[in-house]
């Protein structure tokens, strides 16, 4: 338990990582059970599952890069790309099912015009639903969110490995921190969100504050763990 300037840097890295995860969740188009029935926009599962999925893929790819280099930048980039690939693959295959199996047009109920394609949305929203599928803006937003989650996961994992030198334990610990931040953020958005164009997105400062407090408590504990008996 040696406390020096490095410890403070590790502490800051973990806190920034936790905050990235917390804010990144707000970008991911989560639809929950209604989206699974094509009655709401987004991916048809819960925030925690999506955040955990992208975060774990980010962790895995970051860990892979970490086995070849100690430089933080390629590790962060790999984490981000891994998470983005996971999230994009999920959204893409989900879109195929919405388009070809369910037969629903992709439409957002939160905006009148898709901010990216400028396509009109309301004519395509089926009555009684709040949009269907994953429109372009949600797809882009989800990719940004996954990148933030991946960088966040890698940013938590990297200092942990430096501190305790045990990749397996660091990964589990990072998952623990990841879960806490992702759940807090998903409580903040009350389960469903479309992306950065959703009015609910304006609530992110609340999640920022909550994740800040939670991650500080976790990070202080994380930097205190030191290797004992060779593990």
């Amino acid at each position: 338990m040696s406390f020096d300037i490095n410890t403070i840097i590790y502490l800051l890295e973990i806190i920034v990582g936790g905050l990235l995860v917390g804010v990144g969740v707000h970008f991911v188009p989560v639809g929950g059970a209604p989206a699974a029935m094509a009655q709401a926009t987004g991916i048809g599962t819960g925030t925690v599952q999506l955040a955990a999925g992208s975060g774990l893929t980010g962790l895995l790819s970051a860990g892979l890069m970490m086995s070849v280099t100690d430089n933080i930048w390629p590790i962060l980039a790999t984490g981000a790309v891994g998470a983005m690939i996971m999230m994009d693959a999920t959204m893409l295959t989900g879109s195929w099912i919405y388009a070809y199996a369910v037969g629903a047009p992709f439409a957002s109920a939160k905006v009148n015009y898709d901010p990216i394609t400028k396509f009109s949305q309301p004519p395509y929203v089926a009555p009684g639903t709040v949009g269907q599928g994953i429109p372009t803006v949600c797809y882009v937003s989800g990719t940004i969110g996954a990148a933030m989650g991946g960088i966040g996961g890698a940013l938590i994992y990297y200092p942990l490995v430096q501190i305790n030198g045990n990749p397996a334990m660091s990964a589990v610990f990072a998952v623990g921190i990841f879960m806490v931040d992702a759940v807090l953020a998903s409580w903040n958005i009350q389960g469903t969100i479309e992306g950065f164009h959703d009015p609910k997105f304006k609530k992110w400062p609340k999640a920022f504050k909550s994740c800040l407090v939670a991650t500080i408590i976790l990070a202080v504990v994380a930097v205190l763990i030191t290797p004992i008996g060779g593990v």
């Binding site: 623990g176 806490v180 504050k209 909550s210 407090v213």
Partner: protein, 275 residues
């Protein structure tokens, strides 16, 4: 929670304070009992007692989940179970490591428990004050949940490693990746009962019995892991104990499910005049 239909006959719900005391004290005593039995006899055959201790934590956690989620948290019940286990992983690692650093190895369980309940309470405060959940029992609910998650992880980790030493638990549970099994199976035991039984006629005894039942299945899973880390005898014993717990509580759960099920009365086909 006696709204809606369902047959009569469910006993009065147990007081959450009582369950909290039984859950926390029971699991701590259970883990230490397992540790004492193992070190006194010099074997690892009593590791299954750690898994039984985890069941006390599971009951506490399942009760906390049903209390908090009855208010509706908007994200589905699984999120809160994952939160509990996430906090539990961090707390148990920290507790074991700090205890070893301070030279009071066996007190790791207590340190982990204290850290986790404080952290859980803070998360509850955040949820209510910052996010505006306004769930009156959020603080104590997360206090219980994070304590329960920690005790479940510690109990089942003991069931796999047979020791409370930090180095052993990291070697047998974390480096082997068996923690993922504890994470998901233990999480299921805490979050699944309310998820499966929720509804207007949700009864406390049925939910908690379901929790112990899933806990028994998690014990079978850790028993299979223990075959690799503790050897055949201890692992098999754990599987058998887990199976016994699962079977006993499955039968009990089935009985309760029949008790609470609504009676379906056959009215025959529609009369010909109505067709």
């Amino acid at each position: 929670m006696t709204v809606g239909g369902g047959a009569a006959g469910a006993p009065q719900a147990l007081d959450p304070k009582k369950i909290r005391i039984y859950g926390l004290v029971g699991s701590v005593i259970g883990i230490y009992l397992a540790w004492i039995l193992n070190s006194v006899t010099g074997t690892n055959i009593f590791s299954f007692v750690g898994a039984l201790a985890a069941l006390f934590g599971v009951v506490l956690g399942a009760n906390a989940v049903r209390r908090v989620c009855a208010y509706g948290i908007g994200t589905g019940v699984p999120s809160i179970g994952m939160l509990a286990l996430g906090m539990g992983v961090v707390a148990s690692l920290f507790g074991l490591n700090l205890a070893e650093q301070l030279g009071v190895g066996v007190l790791g369980v207590i340190i982990a428990l204290v850290y986790s309940v404080v952290f859980g309470y803070v998360i509850g405060l955040i949820a209510n004050r910052v996010m505006g959940f306004n769930i009156p029992i959020m603080e104590e609910g997360l206090f219980d949940l994070s304590g329960a998650g920690t005790m479940a992880i510690l109990g089942w980790s003991f069931a796999i490693s047979g020791s409370l030493a930090y180095a052993d638990i990291v070697k047998d549970v974390f480096n082997t990746g068996f923690l993922a099994i504890i994470f998901i199976c233990g999480g299921l035991a805490i979050l699944h009962p309310f998820n499966a039984n929720l509804g207007p006629d949700e009864k406390q005894d049925r939910t908690l019995v379901n929790g112990v039942m899933v806990g028994g299945m998690a014990t079978i899973a850790t028993g299979i892991c223990a075959l690799m880390t503790l050897g055949f005898a201890a692992g098999m014993l754990e599987i058998v104990v887990g199976f016994a717990v699962w079977y006993y509580f499955y039968v009990w759960y089935f009985r309760l499910a029949k008790r609470d099920a609504s009676a379906v009365v056959g009215t025959g086909l529609l009369p010909p005049s109505a067709l």
